[in-house]
């Protein structure tokens, strides 16, 4: 029987937006996307898609990608399909547009349940916008799944799961029974590039779109559990003293002498 894998993916502001182009609307407490910089699929979620595809490379598996939000850029969100995922499910509704981690975990859990049987839920370790690293943990708690975080390698066979997880120093091999949830880190390796064939296939697929009412959500659980009271850009007013020499060699020497003058070395 095919292994059913669900990957949770989020559309985010491009985290590689140059610092100088990063803007916020302090009154609305929102980030204003830089003009001309399209959103992306959260990088760690692409790592999770890659982890799913590597499992599928070796065994019979079906991959559904699920996302919660609104204002999806379809060409962006279709990227996992063009990489090789089978299905894209978008919970696309203003009511779920700006949820916090707890509420997002709740809605994703409902969506995963609605998808039917699943063996493995894969998530990125964190989203690069709010850097919360909580949604996957919330899904695991809500669905009552064993949870393994920070994977650099995921193998699934015969109902069993073997995960190599990144530690501060080194790694650890962990096993669990499925169904289970695993969060994936960038140490897994680069996500594959969509092939031309993949892009063509993805262009013919349309996402399954659900609204909040399709999931029969409890409105009380969509309210934020923490209130965002302020969003601001930190000011760094360090003055950098540029050390210049006649050439590189002289610059290096002067830099060292300057640090000695300041008693830094």
């Amino acid at each position: 029987m095919a292994l059913n894998i669900v990957v949770c993916a989020k559309q985010v502001v491009d985290p590689e937006t140059p610092v100088s182009a990063f803007r916020i609307d302090a009154d609305a407490r929102r980030v204003v996307p830089a003009p001309g910089v399209p959103p992306v699929v959260n990088g760690f979620d692409e790592n999770a898609v890659e982890a799913a595809l590597r499992i599928k490379d070796g065994t019979d598996a079906a991959i559904a990608v699920v996302s919660v939000g609104s204002g999806f850029a379809m060409d962006v969100m279709k990227k996992p399909l063009s990489m090789g995922a089978d299905q894209l499910v978008l919970v696309d509704d203003e009511a779920v547009a700006d949820l916090d981690a707890a509420a997002t975990a709740y809605v994703l859990s409902r969506a995963i349940e609605r998808l039917g049987g699943y063996d493995l839920v894969l998530c990125g370790r964190q989203a690069s916008d709010w850097d919360n690293a909580q949604v996957p943990l919330g899904i695991a708690e809500t669905l009552g799944l064993p949870c393994v975080t920070m994977a650099q390698k995921v193998e699934a066979h015969n109902g069993g799961l073997v995960v190599e997880r990144v530690l501060d120093e080194g790694y650890q091999v962990v096993e669990a029974d499925m169904p289970a949830l695993v969060t994936v880190s960038n140490e897994l390796g680069e996500p594959r590039y969509p092939s031309l064939r993949g892009i063509m296939a993805a262009s013919r697929k349309s996402p399954t779109v659900w609204t909040a009412s399709d999931l029969d959500l409890d409105p009380a659980r969509l309210a934020p559990s923490l209130e965002l009271v302020d969003l601001f850009i930190p000011v760094t007013d360090r003055q950098c003293e540029m050390v210049e020499g006649e050439d590189g060699q002289d610059t290096g020497r002067r830099l060292a002498l300057r640090l000695r003058e300041e008693k830094l070395i």
């Binding site: 502001v13 990144v166 530690l167 080194g170 962990v174 289970a180 760094t236 003293e241 060699q249 290096g252």
Partner: protein, 329 residues
Amino acid sequence: MTGAALGVLAAGEWTDGRLYPGTGELLALGRSLDCGEVSVALLGDAPESVCREAVSLGADAVYTASHPLTGDGDADADVSAIAQICGQAKPRVLLFGKTAFGAEVGPRVAFRLGVGAAQDCVAVEAEDESGRVVVTRPVHGGNAMARLRFPDADPKVAIVRGKAYEPLAADGSRRGEIRRVELEPPVVRTRRVETVESRSAGVRLEDASVVVAGGRGLGGPSPFEQLEELAGLLGGAVGASRAVCDAGWLDHSYQIGLTGKTITPDLYITVGISGASQHMAGCSGARHTVAINKDADSNIFKAASFGAVGDWQDILPSFIETIRELVES
């Protein structure tokens, strides 16, 4: 859990008969919140000396819970243990350090108790007027800071970044109560098969007072030998940007930044690092940053006190040689 909750419970960590430094930081933060008893939970079979160390660093009470499965890296067991201790201590605020343990167990305990959690906090404060708890945390890779206010429900769970608070000076005359907690046996659904440690020799990056780090601009792994040499001269440690670790030039344990290590050296020397916000998120606590980069507009110079613009291949050799002369004379 609402209403009568009082005090602060810190989820402590210890190893080899010592508390983690971060636990002392949590206790200091707990005292600064000034909302009642400050207690600490120590999982595993914590020896009395570790409990007393926690008391000397500010704990009024120590909850110890020694089920063989807890405190040993099985999150299932630790989530269950901390949730149970929380049920007894009934704290207003539950603190974790931003460690592998805290970043996973903290939010999971919060979900289990039906309350919110805040990850990666650099400040946790009680608001003057209302006494409500507000945290500050970097978001968007450190490009912005968010302040978030907890609702009334207790406990308020905050996972706190290392070195954001100074531990108190140890005071051996402080008194504290040790409370042993009987745990419901936890159900652990994951099985650890093998742990492979790759601890690098020498000073730990997180503890080093001098860090020398390289980025993609170094072009490959071999220039890191020169950084090792420089770090050796200064008694420091070598680190790297994520680009370097992703390229496989160095192991991920060298990575500094939001998703790597947080460092707080007196002197941070960067070579060929652009200073992306996610990198700076891990080194903004450096006292002095020195940058060598060929791009004068590079973001790294905005955080640096001293900079040199140019190709590292021209600058670094004489920089290292001069430092050698200075430290060896």
